[in-house]
């Protein structure tokens, strides 16, 4: 009875370590969180009570929509701005801007996010901040709901445009020069060549880079938490901050995990877009 493993059995065997890790660090917390969303459960009190969909109903009848709006505003702002800046710089570098500038532009990206946030916290401080000092104003950049979100987006843009620039520059450098030369011979100007040659060639990589940045920003936490903590008056409270506050400041695990569940559903939609785009 000297049986040999089939290919399928062998494949499963190879997957055991990965599956074990998956169970321990992804499946368990995920299931745990999803289950908790159906309970009234405190971080500090023992015991819990099953409440069905009550946590979800509470959220959908209250905090969910403003948090969704803030998350979308932040995500769009913090994705579009670095995309545009990164694209422009990538084009400039590809067109012959000195190569050492690439290193300079990468600088913000290598600084840890929390450090970047503290740096900008100092710049935006209403009472002794650099920005007010330079402008001679007394604007409460982080204390006013109309400017707080802009300040947060500016900070995140500064931190993430280099990544966008590198991705797009890599895409530009794979573009055959002959395409541009042929278009030039045909009389196309710079703008026409950009529209008809560069943009179509870059569509796939630009789309992926944009979508990845969008997904990351949808989950982003540290910049917002350090700069505003979600304030003032909830004006910059995104899903990440709201879940953290509900769970770890309010000690309300039931509502926090329910909000996390809704947030995850939205992320799954984005992931589906990403996977479709990558497979296309």
């Amino acid at each position: 009875m000297n049986r040999r493993l089939t290919d399928g059995q062998f494949a499963w065997l190879l997957m055991v370590p990965g599956l074990a890790l998956f169970l321990a660090i992804i499946a368990y917390p995920l299931v745990s969180a999803l289950v908790t969303g159906f309970f009234e459960q405190s971080l500090v009190r023992p015991g819990r009570a099953f409440v069905g969909l009550a946590n979800y109903a509470d959220l959908l009848g209250g905090d969910f929509w403003p948090v969704l709006r803030n998350t979308l505003v932040f995500t769009l702002g913090a994705t579009i701005a670095p995309f545009v800046i990164g694209y422009a710089l990538a084009l400039a570098l590809n067109a012959g801007l000195p190569g050492w500038l690439r290193g300079v532009f990468l600088f913000p990206w290598v600084i840890p996010g929390v450090v970047v946030s503290f740096l900008w916290l100092w710049i935006f401080n209403a009472n002794y901040g650099v920005l007010n000092g330079l402008l001679g104003t007394h604007v409460s950049w982080l204390g006013d709901p109309t400017t707080a979100m802009i300040a947060v987006i500016v900070t995140k843009t500064w931190a993430s445009f280099p990544w966008m620039m590198v991705m797009l520059l890599a895409g530009l450098q794979t573009m055959p020069k002959e395409l541009h030369e042929a278009a030039s011979v045909d009389g196309a100007g710079a703008i026409r060549r950009f529209r008809s040659v560069t943009v179509p060639h870059m569509r796939a990589i630009a789309g992926i880079a944009f979508l990845l940045e969008f997904i990351w920003n949808f989950q982003h936490f540290d910049t917002i938490y350090v700069l505003t903590g979600g304030g003032p008056a909830g004006a910059t409270k995104t899903f990440a901050v709201a879940v953290y506050d509900t769970a770890f400041k309010g000690f309300d695990l039931g509502h926090a995990t329910a909000l996390g569940g809704l947030w995850m559903l939205l992320l799954l939609v984005l992931m589906a877009f990403y996977l479709r785009k990558e497979n296309a």
Binding site: Y28, S42, R45, N125, N127, Y128, G231, P232, A233, F248
Partner: protein, 426 residues
């Protein structure tokens, strides 16, 4: 065909195992459990936010080192910034990652006590010689869960030099006089914030004593009175100061201390620790001599000035090293030479009768003045009795911030705060 069936069975078995594993590790909400570790162990942890603060770090470390040398124990220290401290300590305690002695703000005791893992320190309390008020700050539901390290109050402190320059004579005693003083200071210009009051949500709980000043009890029995006429009037007054730039936007305790230390604020709220903190931060080495505590102005003459009772306790987590940790807590808080030396370095008043009578403490004018003007009438925050008190304060703070930035009226905001806070009274 046979291979396919076996593969299907294999998958099925795998999925079943996965399901069983997930079910088995579905969240357990007990959050409690028996104490872990050897209570008699000679190694224990000491978690303290003071070890993270420049002004106190060395003084606290000196106590730790002295006890470790004296008792032949090893103390593993850990620290988190004050604003993140409760959160971190709660998570660690829940996850069984916290042991030994833990410094706590007195307002956090209920939240930690609710987790059921703190050691009863009644025996240590009985022999410590603590004052009754101090002991009460470490008591929860009849059990002595914390030994008081310092007991004081949060009140107003003034820069007398700025007041003199502004032509403010004497300390303002009523809200009207206070506002008048702020307006005079504002006329000085030069980037001076008349009153560096908290305007960031993280510290806007500082408005609660002002609500009391205007006549709101905050809590009557178990009924939250935030939203009554008095609290609304207090918030409208605060908003008036904000709009008139008599208080500054974007300020929390740390910003306020920085402004005050730079000579850029005439008044701000802090605990008695203010002197040590300001001395450590200020380029003006004579600033501490210009600081003066003042009773919070009252609405009308004859009212009782409002102040918030404040202090630190040391609690001990049941389990690994808890016996030695309890002895350390007792040493740090009641050994007279230790508490007097600690006072000398950081100006935090001790909690024992002997400590208070020590010449180093009793002869300190600023401390006696603070005790007389502020601590004497200080009362605890009534929400501290609830484990969810921080959430209640946050609900109020966020709504007050909404008023300050013009997103809501005081009446609507406080009604909403009370509605949010009601289910949190557990």
């Amino acid at each position: 065909m046979e291979t396919l069936n076996r593969r299907a069975a294999f998958r099925l078995a795998g999925l079943s195992a996965l399901g069983a594993a997930l079910a088995a590790c579905a969240p357990d909400a007990a959050g409690g459990g028996a104490p872990k570790g050897d209570a008699a162990a000679r190694t224990f942890g000491f978690t303290s936010w003071s070890l993270n603060e420049e002004a106190q770090k060395a003084a606290v470390q000196a106590i730790v080192d002295a006890y470790a040398a004296k008792g032949g124990v090893k103390i593993d220290t850990a620290s988190f910034p004050y604003n993140e401290y409760l959160n971190q300590v709660t998570l660690k305690l829940r996850g069984g990652q916290l042991s030994g002695a833990v410094q706590l703000d007195i307002s956090w005791l209920a939240a930690l006590a609710a987790m059921g893992r703190l050691k009863d320190l009644g025996a240590q309390a009985a022999k410590g010689g603590y004052t009754d008020v101090a002991l009460s700050s470490g008591r929860f539901q009849g059990r002595q869960l914390g030994l008081p390290w310092t007991t004081g109050s949060i009140g107003l402190v003034a820069n007398t030099e700025i007041l003199k320059k502004a032509g403010v004579e004497g300390m303002p005693a009523t809200v009207e006089e206070f506002e008048d003083a702020l307006r005079k200071v504002a006329k000085l210009g030069g980037g001076i914030t008349p009153y560096a009051a908290a305007t960031k949500a993280a510290q806007l709980k500082d408005i609660l004593p002002w609500m009391r000043t205007f006549g709101s009890p905050l809590l009557e029995g178990d009924t939250i009175t935030v939203g009554d006429d008095a609290s609304v009037a207090a918030v409208e007054w605060y908003k008036k100061l904000y709009d008139a730039k008599l208080i500054a936007p974007d300020v929390d305790r740390f910003d306020a201390r920085a402004l005050f230390a730079q000579g850029k604020a005439a008044f701000y709220d802090d605990a008695i620790i203010t002197r040590g903190v300001v001395a450590a931060q200020s380029p003006d080495k004579s600033l501490t001599g210009k600081m003066a505590p003042l009773a919070r102005p009252v609405l009308k003459a004859g009212d009782t000035p409002q102040a918030l009772l404040w202090g630190h306790v040391i609690v001990v987590v049941e389990g690994e090293g808890s016996d030695a940790a309890a002895d350390f807590a007792s040493y740090a808080t009641s050994d007279t030479a230790t508490v007097a030396a600690f006072f000398e370095k950081v100006k935090l008043p001790p909690t024992t009768t002997a400590g208070l009578a020590d010449p180093k403490v009793a002869g300190d004018t600023f401390t006696t003045e603070w005790t007389e003007k502020i601590t004497k009438t200080a009362t605890p925050n009534p929400f501290w009795r609830y484990a969810g008190y921080a959430q209640i304060e946050t609900a109020i703070a966020e709504q007050v911030q909404a008023v300050l930035v013009g997103q809501s009226s005081a009446k609507d905001a406080l009604a909403k705060a009370a509605e949010t806070a009601k289910p949190l009274q557990k």
